[in-house]
Amino acid sequence: MPEGTLCNKQPIDTAEGITTLLADKSGKKYYEEMKHLEVDSDLLWKTIQNTCKSRIRTWLEICAHCGMCADSCFLYQVDGRKPTQVPAYKIQSTLGEIIKRKGKVDADFMIHCMEVAWSQCTCCNRCGMYCPHGIDTGIMFGYLRGLLYQQGFVPWELKIGAGMHRVYRAQMDVTDADFVDTFEWMVEEYEEDFPGITVEVDKENADIMYTVNAREVKHYPEDLAEAAILFHIAGENWTVPSKGWEQTSLSMFAGDWAACKMQVESVYGAMERLRPKRMVGTECGHAHRATVIEGPYWAGRKDGLPPVESIHYVEWLAEALRLGKLKIDPEKRIKQKVTLQDSCNYVRNQGLKNAAREIMSYIVAPGYFVEMAPNKEHNYCCGGGGGFNGIGLYRAQRNQALQKKRDQILDTGAKLVVAPCHNCWDAIRDLEEEYEIGIEWSFLKPLVIKMLDIPEHLKPKEDDL
């Protein structure tokens, strides 16, 4: 049986396809079928010849086999320093081997590669900073994921996730109408507390076009309201697009490059339609990576930049506080030990290490902010990156991976962790559930709203109450 009915090389392009795959609980049948999935070696080798160019080939060739990257990988550290977790070994024994054998590998080998690519690497790119030759294993794993996806060897949840982007242009089955309705409804809920608050959909030439993570629409609609409140109080001229509002990309985790392109083009389409001065994205790391950092390349933009200047939420918030658009009541600042999770996706991968720290300087009373060690671009992955959080098959490995962040947090002595990234936030929630170390965790929006010094004219009038 070369192709399964559920597990095969075809991407999912229809809502029915998604439903059918979802009905196979935990992908039981899907993974069963995978064992017999035939590898199209010709296609694999042809793809490698066309896409594996000098950068990756040179990395694989000049690797000194020196092992200096070993300790930089948190998964090596938490897995009892198993030699098989050394970044160079992980990539040489998978991608390196496929290339050595010119694509002539079998399903068992591909399943092994899948396990390594999605449960032994979160594509956090930390090892690339510690290799003397500048070999970035995380990038190579991203590439390997693309090859595996093309052949149908991809974890069940991510096959579905990529399908969601193809069908809904969102990581979940949230339609454009759902998005607009939910946003408007959530904002209405706050009309009494914040008179004059509105969300204008599809306003042209606004200063800010705001984009989100579909999870907010489906599971955390409060987050949408909080964004609206902060824009409202800051007096921003902002809008949301009715189409192209989703910034995330599970297709990036899946290695489905065609879906990545479709997704990001929907957001760029909105930018071109509405011509905002800037795009601001929500507190999500991989979403920013997908839409702002990698997206331009998928969309074929030669300057490597999105159509309009696009910034992460921490950049906007830091600026609003700096310019006094938002004022903090000093009495209400955080007065307990608090630490900050640096998201690899916009800190290591776009250098935004200062923005979140600037925000902390406004919202935390002096002396209470404690850095993790290491931090900034040297920080470790939260443990759930690159899709790891969402893959049931590798839950045990993911839980082990959380130990590094757990220990980093414990070492700070802080009981509150600020995590301006959905994935990190989830991972930290899960690590509390798993290891019960008695911490709380939060996005920035709810913290800031609680401590705002709101100007009189924006407060509800006494007689309205």
Partner: protein, 225 residues
């Protein structure tokens, strides 16, 4: 034998090494793809250049990066070996006599004491790298036969060069084997991981451009290597 080694084979080994590496260097940069690598090399040459330079020079400084600092012993061994491996072949008086005779040019030379010191230091560094490869599980798992071959190939010119230098036994024999092994090393460079001698700069430049253009450089943050 000696005549052949210092005659045609000498020229051939240098030609293979340098022409080979020029070709590889050219192919490397020609093979970079802004879209596949997802780095807009051409659109932002200045940011790319700055990133590339930083990425190279930081790593050439002993203890200049987090990577070197977290593994001090490795760092010391690496620099002990590499300073000798680069300086002795280029600046040894004996080598430059040969260069002057055969090619009509030469580099500045170092004194004999310096040459001895750097050579022994290189051998010590190399032996340490060997030891490390034997002992550390995270290095052992990466090691294959080729790695041992490369280490041997690197060790031989040093060992034989020193044997000739101290006239241990038959000087002529050691000198001939020295030249032979030195030339073998040159031949191997373009075809093995020894190509890193040149491609190190290419690879580091590429990652540097990545950070200089896409991963923070254009946001005004310099990568803290």
């Amino acid at each position: 034998m000696y005549a052949v080694l210092t005659g045609p084979v000498f020229y051939l080994s240098l030609a293979v090494c340098f022409i080979g590496m020029a070709v590889r260097f050219y192919l490397y940069f020609r093979g970079l793809s802004w879209q596949l690598d997802r780095v807009a090399y051409k659109a932002h040459p200045k940011a790319g250049f700055n990133g590339a330079v930083r990425s190279i020079y930081k790593w050439l400084i002993p203890f200049g990066t987090y990577g070197w600092r977290t593994q001090p012993i490795m760092t010391i061994a690496f620099f002990c070996f590499h300073i000798g491996a680069v300086a002795v072949p280029l600046f040894l008086a004996g080598h430059n006599v040969v260069l002057q005779q055969k090619l009509g040019f030469s580099f500045p030379t170092m004194g004999a004491a310096m040459a001895d010191f750097l050579s022994w230091m290189a051998i010590a560094g190399l032996l340490f790298l060997v030891l490390r490869r034997l002992v550390l599980p995270e290095v052992r798992i990466l090691t294959d036969k080729k790695d041992w071959g490369i280490l041997l190939l690197t060790f031989l010119p040093f060992a034989t060069g020193l044997a000739a230098r101290y006239q241990a036994g038959d000087y002529g024999f050691w000198l001939t084997t020295h030249i032979l092994t030195g030339e073998l090393l040159l031949f191997a460079i373009p075809f093995t991981k020894l190509s890193h001698i040149f491609l190190f700069f290419a690879s580091r430049a590429q990652l540097g451009m990545d950070f200089g253009i896409k991963r923070g450089g254009m946001k005004g943050t310099k990568m803290a290597w």
